[in-house]
Symmetry: C2
Subunit: 185 residues, 2 copies
DNA sequence: CAAGTAACCAACCGGTTGGTTGACGATGCG
DNA sequence: CGCATCGTCAACCAACCGGTTGGTTACTTG
């Protein structure tokens, strides 16, 4: 097989994404990632230096993709939340990786410059919409945003066992309605 | 020191709760739990058979306490959510353990008979309140409940880094208001 | 083609982890 | 007191895991 450093790096990143999303940082196995990526463990350490830094690279890439794919639209927060919810369904790794990060690093959530910047921008957008009267000001923009994120991540596993999780349309509609209610002035 | 089997068992359970809440199932160290509980590792296996069954015992105990301490009041869901939120603040292990369970067992959330029963009862209570007209029927009771849980778990870490997390009163008020908006007919 | 370099790997290493075992000492009962 | 039972533990083990090393293979350059 032809040698290609960037392709190998990319394969490692993809398989690491799946592995970390599934097992978390402590549970992920570097050997397994190497095997899945069809390369040697040493390559992983050549490219990413450590397991933790590999996770950072994975998480950052996922966040960047998410922010790029689903830009905030403060004039239509219900629509934004619905798109975010769809994104979570399309890429289930996103939510899981974010949760692993929150739990396993006792970092209070945000660490990477990428995320800090993205969140700051979003808070500002919501504040702007509040000043314009499009969004109620009964809550500070950060809390509104946190509620929105929480709602967008909802509806994937049912509370009661037997029951089917809601269809994509139903979930999208639920998220849209919930956010509409939450931000109404 | 006087020997006391049930006391030892109880100490193991308590320390295991802290350990699992902090490090998760894969990250928890049985040696550390034994050392913290002031007993030998063998005791843990004598009482709980395996690391996984120890986690089950821990999780079940925590859930039981949570359900007992904060019974649902379908006639006042905002108040219930606020009390739940307070409980999450008083016992941060609860939320973390539940999250670890959701992530590390790929079980879709509910597994233990205790939880299934508790959740079923709650869904029924909400449905009852809907029939009585106290709660809007724009959403099925399970979804309403899932949204309520999501909101009650909100407001502990801030979205932007520098900022302080909201005060207990502010959080309680936010949760109450959010749930009020979500269930309004 | 020869030399140099970048990509790659099998094998290994030190330390750790869940789990086990065999013995020891305290306790309580007949 | 004799003795069985139960709680306790130090020591141990096989498997595993993150990380490293020394060397090999493919590709490029002159």
């Amino acid at each position: 097989m032809r040698r290609d450093a960037t392709a190998t790096r990319q394969r490692i990143l993809e398989e690491a994404t799946a592995e970390f999303a599934r097992y978390g940082i402590a549970g992920a196995r570097v050997d397994r990632i190497a095997r899945m990526a069809g390369c040697n463990k040493a390559m992983i350490y050549a490219y990413f230096l450590s397991k933790d830094q590999l996770f950072d690279a994975v998480f950052d890439a996922v966040v960047v993709r998410n922010v790029t794919d689903v830009p905030i639209d403060a004039a239509d927060l219900p629509g934004y939340a619905a798109r975010l919810s769809d994104q979570y369904r399309t890429y289930p790794e996103v939510g899981r990786l974010a949760t692993w990060d929150r739990l396993e690093r006792d970092g209070v959530g945000v660490r990477t410059a990428t995320i800090v910047e993205a969140n700051g921008h979003k808070v500002e957008a919501v504040a702007e919409a509040q000043r314009a009267g499009l969004v109620g000001d009964h809550l500070p923009p950060e809390m509104l945003l946190e509620l929105l994120f929480a709602v967008a991540a909802t509806g994937f596993d049912s509370v009661v066992p037997g029951q089917e999780p809601p269809s994509p349309e139903a979930r999208r509609q639920m998220v849209r309605d919930a956010v509409f209610r939450l931000i109404r002035p």
